[in-house]
């Protein structure tokens, strides 16, 4: 039996006394592209922040390659973190460093590569995201789409097995968004990494995802889990169908615009 890249077990999470996610469980096999989707405030980003170890859940566990990121601390936690890459919504590139320095930073800190090896590796990563030649650009000199691609390149710096992308298409024009989708598929093909994408961009979901997990703010849990096209056509939950058909449920026209997640 192959080990799952990610296992979320009975996760209950929130902020202060407010519970946002309750008793959530799912596994992500190695090499899968999973999208986490749902309406605003359903807990997508909360789930992501717990999966990457930035927040501690109220209950439950999250295993990355069989190692709990929840119960690990200090160097052990940082060792787990080095095995995944994260591209944040706004890129989160260090503005005081050039593009090449941003990508080189994890290699300088965590590997014993020589300067020449690092320079070559940075070029390789930038080539992968079609930004070769922009090594010396500062993040402030790049367009929104280029910043996202640079963030992808930095997340790939240590050749991680798992990649987390937070709203990669948010705020981009349709062409840049489509280009990023192709890039995500390309990254998976070349690196065989497991990719978790938090998004609510329907085009992206149908283009890139092998599987979609949909969260709901009312039930605070997963209301759909499966291949996106399958869910779009055949989900038992009408809210899921409505969401994935951009507000037009082919099965039921009477609910248009006024349906809630609990409706079935």
């Amino acid at each position: 039996m192959t080990q799952n890249a990610i296992s979320v077990k009975n996760l209950t999470a929130g902020y202060g006394r407010r519970i946002v996610l309750e008793n959530i469980s799912f596994d992500v096999p190695q090499g899968q592209i999973l999208t986490i989707l749902g309406g605003s405030g359903c807990g997508k980003s909360t789930l992501l922040k717990h999966m990457i170890g930035l927040r501690t859940p109220f209950a439950g566990d999250i295993l990355l390659h069989g190692k709990s990121i929840v119960s690990s601390t200090g160097n052990r936690k940082r060792a787990i973190m080095r095995r995944f890459g994260v591209a944040y919504q706004g890129g989160a590139l260090f503005r005081s460093l050039s593009l090449a320095e941003n990508i080189a930073l994890p290699m300088e800190e965590h590997t014993k590569m020589s300067r020449e090896e690092i320079r070559e590796k940075v070029r390789e990563k930038l080539r992968l995201v079609n930004l070769d030649g922009y090594q010396d650009y500062m993040p402030s000199d790049l367009s929104g789409g280029m910043v996202k691609r640079a963030a992808f390149a930095r997340s790939l710096a240590l050749d991680p097995d798992i990649l987390f992308f937070d709203e990669p298409s948010a705020g981009l024009d349709p062409l840049s968004s489509a280009s990023l989708d192709r890039l995500i598929l390309d990254i998976r093909e070349k690196t065989a990494a497991t990719i978790v994408v938090v998004t609510h961009e329907l085009e992206s979901i149908f283009t890139i995802a092998d599987r979609a997990v949909m969260l709901d703010a009312n039930t605070k849990s997963i209301i759909a889990d499966g291949p996106p096209l399958e869910l779009k056509k055949h989900s038992a939950n009408s809210f899921v169908r409505l969401f994935l058909n951009a507000g037009h449920d082919p099965a039921d026209h009477s609910h248009e615009g006024g349906i809630h997640a609990g409706d079935k």
């Binding site: 930035l54 995944f84 994260v86 944040y88």
Partner: protein, 275 residues
């Protein structure tokens, strides 16, 4: 009805006191925790000096030191002039003009020099540190550092701490000299004291140990300013208003801590070293 209103207002005052106490307690715990992380980062930096971001350290040395030199020198010079004027007027009444160089020299070197430099550094560097780290928090750069397996405290605090601990004593020494120079101009212009006499008197009164006190205090203030600025930055919320608040609180708390430290150090130096 009146009694109920009284109860409500009493409750609200008690609630407010309780709220403020809770906030102070939480902030104190967070400060202690941050100091612990900073000390651990310092120990790590001492063990592995090659891991220190030296390029950033030089950047902050330039920002805190050479960029701040003109304004710091000017403020210390003007402080010397103000102190000189105030003392000259009062001392002239009692025929104690000869004590002006000693009074200005000792006051500037032992207290006003380190204090004025620290206050200028708080306004320039402390606020900048809080704003920089606060903005990095808003743009998820701190989160990015953590998920890359870095310790943001080591990355962001250590270069600033080294830069401040090296440059603030230098600025203070220059500030001390500028303050003495300000007093000298007043002594010469207002009391007609020859420059050579003023210089001789200053050397006679201002002992070399006072410069040690000045430099020691400036190192302590540099650490206080850096840690407070960085701590407030890390404690900032996730929006632009929160960054503004963090910057303001960094300046206010730094000045408070500087004065508290100075009070303590003045007592220590006067009783232990120069008692």
């Amino acid at each position: 009805m009146r009694r109920r209103d009284d109860m409500t207002s009493r409750n609200s005052i008690l609630l407010q006191i309780g709220d403020v106490s809770c906030v102070i307690w939480q902030e104190t715990l967070s400060l202690i925790s941050f100091i612990g992380e900073a000390v651990s980062a310092c120990a790590d930096a001492v063990r592995r000096p090659r891991k220190i971001r030296w390029r950033e350290t030089l950047f902050y040395m330039n920002m805190c030191g050479s960029d701040g030199l003109p304004i710091t020198a000017l403020i210390c010079f003007l402080t010397g002039i103000i102190l000189g004027y105030q003392c000259a007027v009062q001392m002239h009444k009692y025929g104690a003009d000869a004590f002006l160089p000693g009074l200005v020299g000792c006051s500037v070197v032992r207290e006003l020099g380190p204090m004025m430099v620290a206050i200028v550094a708080t306004g320039r560097a402390g606020s900048a540190f809080a704003a920089e780290i606060g903005t990095m928090k808003v743009s998820e750069e701190i989160d990015a550092m953590r998920t890359m397996g870095f310790l943001p405290e080591r990355f962001l605090v250590i270069p600033k701490l080294i830069a401040m601990a090296l440059t603030i004593p230098m600025l203070t020494t220059i500030g001390d000299v500028m303050g003495i120079l300000g007093g000298m101009i007043v002594g010469h212009a207002s009391l007609g004291m020859p420059v050579q006499t003023y210089y001789q008197q200053t050397i006679e009164w201002v002992a070399p140990e006072y410069f040690f006190e000045s430099i020691f205090k400036s190192v302590v203030f540099a650490v206080v300013i850096t840690l407070t600025g960085c701590w407030r930055g890390f404690r900032a919320g996730n929006d632009a208003i929160a960054v503004g608040k963090a910057t303001t609180s960094a300046v206010v708390i730094s000045i408070l801590f500087i004065i508290l430290c100075d009070t303590f150090l003045a007592h220590v130096f006067n009783t232990i070293f120069f008692g």
